[in-house]
């Protein structure tokens, strides 16, 4: 068959700006592109033993998470001070909180998305998203919103992805112990994040469907003069953060704490698909920012109280304390004491394991407990009931 066709028609199609059809092929065009740069000096921040590095910037979607009640309490509160005769080896609640509680206002990751190589102080790189955040990352009902942090890290295992870590709970007993899984910490080293905590200035990636619900308590921010709420679609939001000392009373009063520096409020929207603003992520000590890569075991804010194992827990290197159960918003457990155990200092992520002598897998205040060891606690159980 010879090649045929109408030259006049072809010229007409060409004049109309028509190109070759692509069908289903070809690379997907990005839905949005952000420009990110990493700045700072790594030589003084690099952990010992790191000789080779692969610096990257990753977009990490945030999780809806609520701090566990134990970490939200005032460590000096009388409610946390047990009567006498607790284990003398036990630590004070304040020490356990400091070692095991993550920043209650911190950004909690849910999933790491795209990651691109970056050169420190080498200018901005383009980070493009080909897909919207998955449904499980969107928070809300009519209005759906997702926030993300741009994380600067060293991809030590060279897999091109930021690997997130979890805390390592100590062993527990009962039927749940068969489900207990522990995964090794990620070797990736975190050097910075555009959104680390709500008590510091942050630049966050926002994605919104529908009209923003200003009452949503998902990484809330006080109104900014420049951008009250995220616009529909993708955007970049900058905020000055709020004061941690005033945040709790304000939150308890049902109000958002004010921005410490309203001049940092900013918003940038994509032009076509590219957000022209450059997000700068400054390098910091990994210990300060590692939490931005720490997943939470449960994202609903509920604390899982575990059945104590029959065999003793190895407390070497860990802190633990005995404390009353904080009020759970309903049935109180005045006679129930929890044992709270921290992770190891070498763990990548902070975390606590809670034990009670009586409880259920889903609700420690259940009427019919799954386990009740109050009459016959394990021999190693360090907490004595209040006298």
């Amino acid at each position: 068959m010879t090649r045929r066709g109408s030259p006049g028609l072809a010229a007409l199609l060409a004049a109309a700006g028509c190109g070759n059809v692509q069908g289903l092929g070809g690379p997907p065009t990005p839905l949005v592109t952000f420009n990110v740069e990493a700045t700072g000096e790594l030589s003084s921040l690099r952990p010992p033993g790191i000789t080779d590095e692969s610096l990257q910037v990753a977009l990490v979607w945030g999780a809806q998470w609520q701090p566990e009640p134990f970490c939200f309490l005032d460590p000096t509160s009388p409610d946390l001070v047990l009567p006498t005769d607790t284990d003398p080896e036990a630590s004070a609640p304040a020490a356990v909180m400091a070692a095991g509680c993550r920043d209650v206002f911190g950004f909690v990751p849910a999933r790491a998305d795209v990651s691109v190589p970056v050169t420190i102080n080498g200018g901005a790189v383009a980070l493009s998203l080909d897909n919207l955040p998955a449904t499980d990352l969107l928070v809300g009902d009519v209005s759906l919103v997702a926030y993300a942090s741009l994380v600067f890290y060293d991809d030590q295992n060279r897999n091109g992805t930021l690997d997130l870590s979890t805390a390592h709970p100590t062993k527990f007993g009962g039927r749940d112990n068969g489900d207990q899984q522990d995964t090794p910490d990620s070797p990736d080293v975190i050097y910075g994040a555009s959104f680390l905590t709500m008590t510091e200035p942050d630049t966050r990636v926002a994605y919104l469907e529908g009209t923003f619900d200003p009452t949503a308590a998902f990484y809330p921010r006080a109104d900014c003069p420049m951008a009250k709420w995220p616009p529909a679609g993708f955007s970049l939001l900058g905020t000055g953060g709020f004061d941690e000392k005033t945040a709790l009373p304000e939150a308890e009063a049902g109000m958002l704490p004010p921005e410490t520096d309203p001049s940092l409020c900013a918003m940038a929207m994509p032009v076509a698909t590219v957000v022209p603003a450059v997000v700068t992520v400054a390098a910091r000590a990994p210990a300060e920012v590692a939490e931005v890569s720490c997943l939470e075991q449960t994202l609903d804010g509920s604390t899982r109280y575990r059945e104590p194992p029959a065999d003793p827990i190895d407390f070497t290197g860990r802190l633990y304390t005995c404390a009353p159960l904080p009020s759970l918003g309903g049935a109180s457990q005045p006679n129930l004491i929890q044992l709270v155990v921290t992770g190891l200092p070498t763990d990548h992520c902070r975390g606590l394991t809670h034990y009670t002598l009586r409880g259920c897998r889903e609700d420690v205040a259940c009427a019919v407990p799954d386990w009740d060891l109050t009459a016959n606690p394990p021999a190693w159980w360090p907490c004595q009931p209040p006298s």
């Binding site: 045929r4 065009t29 994605y207």
Partner: protein, 199 residues
């Protein structure tokens, strides 16, 4: 049978002359009266999309032929297909114009033949970026369009059956080949199911 005749009558299929006082006979209804070398046909087109590579393109087509054993033909069709991948939803419209010849032979009420048509196929494509609407994309970031001209040919087997009067049932189908303006060669198939009219 009376109901059938009544239905055909109401549908206006019988010529006005048949609505006289004379009683209709079965042989009158089914008598083949086609004598002309002209045949006009049209119907539903089903084909593999020229440039999409998958899916089913459906639409309408029509053609006219003139001749007995060897007939000259001119045909045109329009069909469309929509397929999706993870990033794209693609709709392609195929406009086919063909001129060619048909070698055909009549067997009683039937007619079989082989037709070869050559001509341009214009493919108009619309690509919608999936998730783009949710991401508030607009303009070319959301949707693009393109058109491409293919030189194409169809080889089709044809079966036509005279039903009554000048009317036929026509079925055709066979392989096709298209060469794009960029030199890409695409194989496929096309078919038509419809009716014909041969006075």
């Amino acid at each position: 049978m009376r109901r059938l005749l009544a239905a055909l009558f109401l549908l206006g299929i019988f010529p006005a002359a048949a609505r006289g006082d004379e009683a209709l006979s079965v042989s009158d209804v089914w008598q083949v009266r086609s004598k002309s070398p002209l045949t006009v046909d049209g119907g539903l087109v089903l084909a593999l999309p020229t440039a999409l590579g998958t899916g089913l393109s459906s639409g309408v087509g029509a053609g006219v032929s003139y001749g007995r054993l060897l007939a000259w033909e001119a045909r045109a069709s329009w069909s469309t297909a929509t397929e999706s991948s993870i990033p794209w939803t693609v709709t392609q419209q195929d406009i086919k114009l063909r001129a060619g010849v048909a070698l055909q032979h009549a067997f009683g009420r039937g007619r079989v033949g082989l037709r070869l048509g050559l001509g341009p196929t214009i493919v108009y494509e619309s690509r919608l970026r999936n998730q783009g609407t949710r991401a508030e994309l607009t303009g070319s970031a959301l949707e693009t369009s393109a058109a491409e001209l293919f030189a194409a040919g169809d080889l089709q087997g044809v079966v036509a059956l005279h039903v009554f009067g000048p009317w036929l049932l026509a079925v055709s189908g066979g392989p096709s080949l298209a060469i794009g303006s960029s030199g890409t060669v695409r194989g496929g198939w096309s078919s038509l199911v419809g009716i014909g009219w041969q006075p």
